[in-house]
Symmetry: C2
Subunit: 236 residues, 2 copies
DNA sequence: CACTGTGAAGACCTTCACAGCT
DNA sequence: AGCTGTGAAGGTCTTCACAGTG
């Protein structure tokens, strides 16, 4: 719940905890880890709802996700309060609280840049079709490769990125290109106006002008797993 | 990124502080976020070394990664101390400090389970070849599909997972199967003795008996990007 | 009375400031 | 002089405990 506690600007390096709304600074109490957890809960709720369930308690959610029930309640109370009673939260209300807070109801258009095997696999990812994300374009630099890909999604050359991203209203991009191309292609996507990039290329792309970036680098993820083992790190 | 999974216990090398985990107090020294950052630094150092550089300062590392120099120095000092002088850390020494702490020198065998487009792309990932990870087997349930895949890596049916993982000494698995198969296949991999799973299937697999798991779910990653935008969240 | 909601306490992580080394 | 190394301080996030609620 939003409290109108007047507070100064705090620019911590990783987080803005205070959000400016109009003239006032409103404490949102919503932290990055909380956003991550609530996003995971959302996927879980969709599944539970399909199973015909109507209510679910923080304890149940906890054992399904591995998060502590305490933490889940706190996260939920940070974004609002909802119908709850004997068996816990109403799944429908919780779902719509999360989706309205984070804008999950709205459909969003996505493109894939880089159509080697990994990119082509993303282009045809069946899972995206069941979500609010719609993959509506693919880009590559290699005409021959593009001709060999079988897909219903229209494909274009890299030099059309800016034009098509604007024209089609693409908001998010999945990037799967060679390390050499990554920075240049990312810049074109940003110039076109995407708001976020999921980067699977083996290069770190730094966040820029409010464009959200997630870098997912296969070898680094494997290294992290092995580092966790080497230090006997125990995930809860 | 981090991460909600960052809960846990660690074995320490030097200075011990007590950390509470459940009811127990365990010794701890190196934190999850630090392991993540050091892993990223390692990839970066490899690249810098190829460029012929010999020394690098914490400030330089900071601007390349977006981390604060303070934080980087602290992370490094948590795992040991090394040759440093005028221009900063010796790249070679820093590299070998990180790799010996986390066991990155040792070669590790990896398999891919699930050979639809995404899995097949992982199987042929050229990047893995330049790392300490070697992909030496693929598994699937569909014989026809397996015959259509062109690769040098030997492929087997799911029912051989336990046998082959043991026989070949496979330590890590990349999982890219349907949501229905995910849990069963993961159990077979664990029964065979893998120590970590990188799960790209649209299902959360919970960590179990010290087997490290990273769940990377395309739609959820896109949702996180859009949630960050919806809350005006600013990354560093 | 089984559940949520939440201030307060505490664990954890980052940042700071400066001593210490080269 | 330039850079690292690190206790201490300061933020952030999680956990606790119990009040509040249908």
């Amino acid at each position: 719940m939003l409290t109108a506690e007047g507070k100064g600007v705090k620019l911590s390096v990783k987080y803005f905890t205070d959000r400016r709304v109009g003239k006032d600074f409103m404490k949102t109490n919503i932290a990055f880890p909380a956003i991550e957890r609530l996003t995971k809960l959302f996927s879980l709720l969709l599944k539970a709802e399909q199973g015909g369930k109507e209510k679910i308690s923080s304890t149940e959610l906890g054992s399904l996700t591995g998060f502590h029930a305490h933490n889940i309640r706190k996260d939920i109370s940070a974004i609002g309060s909802i119908e709850s009673g004997k068996g816990g939260y109403s799944i429908k209300s919780l779902e719509s609280l999360i989706s309205s807070t984070f804008g999950f109801e709205r459909k969003k258009k996505v493109c894939v840049a880089g159509l080697d095997m990994l990119g082509a696999a993303m282009l045809n990812n069946p899972d995206a079709g069941f979500s609010e994300f719609e993959i509506i374009a693919g880009f590559d630099s290699n005409i021959n490769r593009m001709e060999m890909i079988s897909t219903k999604v229209p494909l274009f050359h890299f030099y059309k990125i800016e034009e098509k991203v604007k024209e089609l209203g693409i908001e998010y991009a999945i990037l799967a290109v060679s390390p050499e191309e990554a920075a240049r292609v990312a810049e074109r996507l940003i110039a076109g106006g995407v708001k976020g990039i999921l980067n699977f290329s083996p290069v770190i792309i730094a966040p820029k002008n409010g464009v959200q970036i997630r870098n997912i680098y296969l070898v680094e993820e494997l290294r992290l797993l092995s580092a966790l083992n080497a230090t006997n790190f125990q995930q809860l």
